[in-house]
């Protein structure tokens, strides 16, 4: 057996700088793409986490025909006796917490500034408020019987110059299609590190929300958290009731899941573009090598090396360059992902309303994403290198006798 790898290795050593630079190009590409993959995955993960904690929960029980974006307060669009329903659901083994929530749109005014908000009526005692309770930056959390207290998010507080103790005016839609207005006191300012939601959501005790909107003993949804979110479809089956439907977190986060699919496709495209460029660098190096070594290839052919063997030799060189590049890019990309996985990228408010994107992205590199990238890099480089390899294999051995350099 001919040791193609030894030959290839020595051939690459003939022009060390050139070989190193072309491997470096691939290495940088790989490092960058690993970081991108970690970035996308981290973003999607945190968006999903935020959504589960803040928006969708693991399950939602809601009236049949409920429309998420409408925030309807009409009685037929609400669940009656929500506390009772929630208590029943809470008895299920798999359920960690079930709490009614009443949502209403409103307008918050301070002096002459007015901002559209979403009033979220919650049972202050519920464990599902943990993100707000833990994210409390100043002031105190709501009490169940508070009749004029609200919590607001940091972006809203900053935009309107509010802090704990500030007085605001709140205009809220009501069940009979009118509006109700009342003065409130900001009890506290919270941050869930999700500016797209924090700038919008105003927390109010459920009882107060029910009175101010005229919803009386009704709620928009029952927000359910499970001990294990994979149980969602099973638990959804177990919950039955008149005029209600149960949605799992998968169903509730359709948009996010579609966004993830889209971003994976986008990432694949990005991979192909970047790797296409780096493969071109390597192909270029090999094409130069073929032309420089025309005579040598002719000699090998003259002493009986076949086209297939000559191809193998050049592909081995491509393989070395690819592995060298990957070997260089992988630790760098991995280190970058590890660093930004800890520190996070600050991106602030993406301005995408309705989706729970955090203000920092913590990169998260999955083994699957990394290995599929590296395999793609290797295969793409080898495929592209078929061109110089075939070029070399097609050279006529006669060239060797002509003494041309």
């Amino acid at each position: 057996m001919i040791n193609y790898f030894r030959l290839a290795y020595r051939n690459l050593g003939r022009n060390r700088r050139r070989s190193a630079l072309s491997a470096l190009a691939l290495g940088l590409g790989v490092a960058l793409l690993l970081l991108m993959a970690g970035f996308f995955e981290g973003e999607m993960r945190s968006a999903m986490e935020s959504s589960l904690r803040l928006q969708s929960g693991h399950l939602q029980v809601r009236p049949v025909g409920y429309e998420e974006d409408k925030l309807s307060l009409a009685w037929e669009d609400l669940i009656e006796n929500p506390e009772q329903v929630a208590a029943q659901i809470a008895t299920l083994e798999a359920v960690a917490d079930a709490a009614p929530r009443l949502m209403a749109s409103g307008i918050l005014t301070v002096r002459d500034e007015a901002v559209g908000v979403q009033v979220l009526g919650v049972d202050p005692a519920s464990a599902s408020n943990a993100p707000y309770r833990e994210g409390l930056l100043s002031g105190s959390f709501l009490e169940a019987d508070d009749r004029e207290g609200i919590l607001i998010g940091r972006p809203l507080a900053e935009a309107l110059g509010l802090s704990a103790g500030s007085k605001v005016n709140l205009l809220v839609n009501t069940s009979d299609g009118l509006v109700n207005e009342q003065a409130f006191v900001v009890r506290g300012v919270y941050s869930t590190a999700t500016p797209t939601l924090d700038k919008l959501v105003v927390l109010m005790p459920l009882a107060k929300t029910q009175t101010i909107t005229g919803a009386q003993n009704r709620a928009s949804i029952i927000f359910v958290l499970l001990k294990d979110r994979e149980q969602a479809p099973v638990v959804a089956q177990a919950i039955q009731g008149k005029n209600i439907e149960v949605k799992t977190w998968q169903e509730l986060n359709q948009l996010l899941i579609e966004t993830e699919n889209f971003s994976n496709a986008y990432l694949l495209l990005l991979n192909l573009i970047v790797l296409g460029v780096t493969a071109t660098v390597i192909v270029n190096t090999l094409v130069m090598a073929v032309f420089e070594r025309t005579r040598e290839v002719g000699i090998l052919a003259a002493i009986g090396m076949k086209g297939r063997q000559i191809m193998t030799l050049f592909l081995a060189e491509a393989g070395f360059l690819a592995l060298g590049g990957i070997g260089f890019g992988l630790p760098i990309g991995w280190a970058l992902c590890a660093y930004f996985g800890k520190k996070g990228f600050y991106i602030g408010d993406l301005g995408i309303t309705g989706m729970a994107f955090g203000e920092r992205i913590y990169t998260y590199l999955t083994l699957e994403a990394a290995s599929s990238l590296l395999i793609t890099a290797l295969i793409l480089t080898l495929l592209a290198s078929l061109y110089p390899a075939i070029l070399a294999a097609r050279l006529e051995p006669v060239e060797a006798l002509h003494g041309k350099n």
Binding site: G13, M305, G403
Partner: protein, 228 residues
């Protein structure tokens, strides 16, 4: 026994509209063990004839036989296979693989033939001795003089026990002493191993080693006689 024969071959090179008749109806028979010089002025067709005998190229018309076998019908791979075992080449420039040591260069044809490591080792050492290069076995070509490189090339050509060795101006890039040394080694190997040698040359000092001198002019054989 006849190791190679060409019958009425022509080789026409076409560059654009211009046709060059590099060989024009050449017939030649080479017997086993010959030490033959192809001579003639520049452009007379020496290299072209060596290429046909070496199965590196195909004639425009006529036939080429190696060891009695018509090789004009063979495809690229079949010709590569034939060259691998039967034909050794020595070129004017010292055609060694620059990344390989003298030892490894000589070993290459044996690797291509799939010989066992022990067999390869023995053969390479034997050849290094035969061309007086044992001392420099592990030098790379750029660490060898032209004469030394050409001796390694002769050893490599001889490695697979070929039917014949074709040498195209093997001394053209060597000084007188080195040229003589290479010719003497080839002559000695020819006598000891009975391997057929055919070499193209301009050099009168080389021609004197030949047993047979075939003279070409304008793509035709104009003289075929004994040397010296």
């Amino acid at each position: 026994m006849e190791v190679a024969k060409v019958t009425d071959v022509t080789r026409v090179y076409k560059v654009g509209e211009v046709e060059t008749h590099a060989l024009n109806g050449v017939s030649l028979s080479i017997e086993a063990g010959e030490f033959t010089a192809l001579v003639g002025p520049s452009g007379s067709g020496k290299t072209t004839l060596l290429q046909l005998l070496g199965c590196l190229d195909q004639p425009t018309s006529g036939k080429v036989f190696i060891n009695g076998k018509d090789v004009t019908q063979l495809n690229r791979n079949q010709r590569a296979d034939l060259r691998k075992g039967a034909i050794g080449f020595v070129f004017q420039f010292f055609a060694l693989i620059p990344t390989l040591t003298a030892y490894e260069n000589i070993e290459m044809p044996l690797l291509l033939l799939g010989k066992k490591p022990s067999e390869r080792r023995q053969r390479v050492m034997e050849l290094l001795d035969a061309v007086g290069m044992a001392e420099r076995a592990h030098h790379r070509p750029d660490q060898l003089s032209g004469g030394e490189q050409q001796r390694v090339a002769v050893a490599r050509a001889l490695a697979p026990h070929p039917l014949m060795i074709l040498a195209d101006e093997p001394t053209a890039n060597l000084d007188t002493d080195n040229g003589r040394q290479v010719m003497q080694i080839m002559q000695k190997l020819n006598q000891e191993t009975k391997t057929t040698f055919i070499f193209a040359t301009h050099d009168p000092r080389v021609i004197q080693y030949a047993q047979r001198v075939v003279t070409l002019r304008d793509g035709k054989i104009v003289d075929d006689g004994n040397g010296k």
